[in-house]
Symmetry: C2
Subunit: 347 residues, 2 copies
Amino acid sequence: MARSGRVTLSDIAERLDLTKVSVSKALRDHPDISTQTKERVKKLAQEMGYAPNRLARSLTTDKTGTLGIIVPKIAHTFFADALAGISEVATANEYELVLCVSEERADFEQRHLRTLLSMRVDGLLVSVTEETNDPGVFTALQDQGVPLVFFDRALDGVGASTVTVDDEGGAYQAVEHAVRKGCRDIAHVGGFPHVGIGAKRRRGYERALRDHGIPVREEWIVEGGFDELHGYRGFKQLLNAERLPEVIFAVTFPVALGVTDAMKQVDPALQDDIQIYSFGQHGLNRFFAYPHVSVYQPARELGKQGVQILLEEIDDPDRLPSHVELETHVIEPTDETHPTYLNGRDG
Amino acid sequence: MARSGRVTLSDIAERLDLTKVSVSKALRDHPDISTQTKERVKKLAQEMGYAPNRLARSLTTDKTGTLGIIVPKIAHTFFADALAGISEVATANEYELVLCVSEERADFEQRHLRTLLSMRVDGLLVSVTEETNDPGVFTALQDQGVPLVFFDRALDGVGASTVTVDDEGGAYQAVEHAVRKGCRDIAHVGGFPHVGIGAKRRRGYERALRDHGIPVREEWIVEGGFDELHGYRGFKQLLNAERLPEVIFAVTFPVALGVTDAMKQVDPALQDDIQIYSFGQHGLNRFFAYPHVSVYQPARELGKQGVQILLEEIDDPDRLPSHVELETHVIEPTDETHPTYLNGRDG
DNA sequence: CTGAAAGCGCTTACAG
DNA sequence: CTGAAAGCGCTTACAG
């Protein structure tokens, strides 16, 4: 028995008067071994409760069957949903997930990256923090030949695969949607410009305005992070503008929530006058007193495709990086995606 | 260099004309080694980008520095929040998380359990599925000496540590709260009785009714699972009762959402007449048109304490199981916990 | 203070 | 079809 008190190959071999190599082969259905021996081995292994030590196996095979995941936040519906997709595809392919949360901090991200490397994960799926701007750590990975895929938030200047949504297009659609409703006073509480999604969503916003002959007003554009706090601050900043807009397009759903909080605090009646649009939806929007109009972001699908690509790169290390961009569309509260039971399929 | 193309102890040793043992010791600040040598070693290790292979280390030390986590769902705010707490404490103690999602399926749970064991995680933190009823797999873990802690959803008959909330007390408080508001017609859309939280919350509900001289009406009690679908079905079932209640107490927040969906579908005006109470809160409740009254469930704290206890058991294998029960309280929409920025600490 | 030996539990060639 | 050797990259005693 192993130090740990667990059954090892040798334990089985001893009881069967075989060598551990034969046992190992038998358990893996190696053609070297006779059917009869295989059966004896498997039976006893089962009886003894044998579970192969994956550490030992990984050390020799140089494959751990694990994927390193780094997300900036976990208690945010977008990342939780993405993780659900990631978990689904990983499990289906017999990979385990080592989950790291960077807390939007670049230093945490780097530390996690190092740890995951020393754990010899087979590949990495990363959504960068809002602070991340140094491609150095990531290009180093590439040099070491570790498969890497960015999802949702990618970092420019790294030759890695990416799975994103059409950020610019989605933002464009949102603004155009507001324009078609007759609005021209549209503000943007945006993200940091050095993060891809921040820059792209803003670009879409501005382009849509211009295409519809609406001047871009700097005082109606706020830049910041991606969570509630920045939405809250963003709205406060908009109060300094000459007048308030009719529509506020928020760079993320959490930012939209912060904007709402600020509006309610300043004057709840503002909610009747200002419509909030957000990039990214939320399953509970349908219960809101003032539901947001949102750009549908397929979080789960993003996670699934991310893993899919990562697995392909693991299987074929010479594969060139892929760049998948998922389509988005605007959803109004009224055509919100409802649970299937509301579609008459159940109940 | 290792097969993987990565730097090993021997690579460093060779360049420095030392043995790998000395290098290993130097890097770990072993007193055996002279300060001067340590510095030379560390400098070169840094230059060569050495990262110790944790697989190899774990194989000899019999410690992986990983925790296995199994949750029934991930895209549910409760578990995402709990995971945030888990991640926080684990990271602070230099443990990594191997995350598994059981999808509320007992067979998935068992498979994940086996995998985590073969990965030699140092401990397990589990919230069981709504199907789980066989303690066998878990007691087997105990026999193998693998530290195990249940959080939120524990399984009876396993001598493992548990971190839960005061389910019965919380349910009791919720019902009492409704009674104090003058309601006597209180229904319960509950969980499965074989899952601890289901049985306890129902018990609290019934006890509160009795203590206030209100008869328990079986037709106002529905049993089922813990997600939206079961809430939806639950309300539909309540429609068969002689009359509708004034209050519906849902066993979880997702169940409360399903109930709401069903109510809206039957007749949106019902929302003016029936108040929904739920065990477990949600950060977005404050934006709801009809906010729920809820029993506060400290998800994050539950996760944190779970890891804390697990780490203690890992450090001291002879420790007796602990049972932590966190307090709950009823929160009305008006005294909802708001983001800190709304408390004037920011903005 | 430095080193040679042994071992963790597995798998991958190579013999027979 | 079965076995003996070698090795994955580390650490833990034990010598010197």
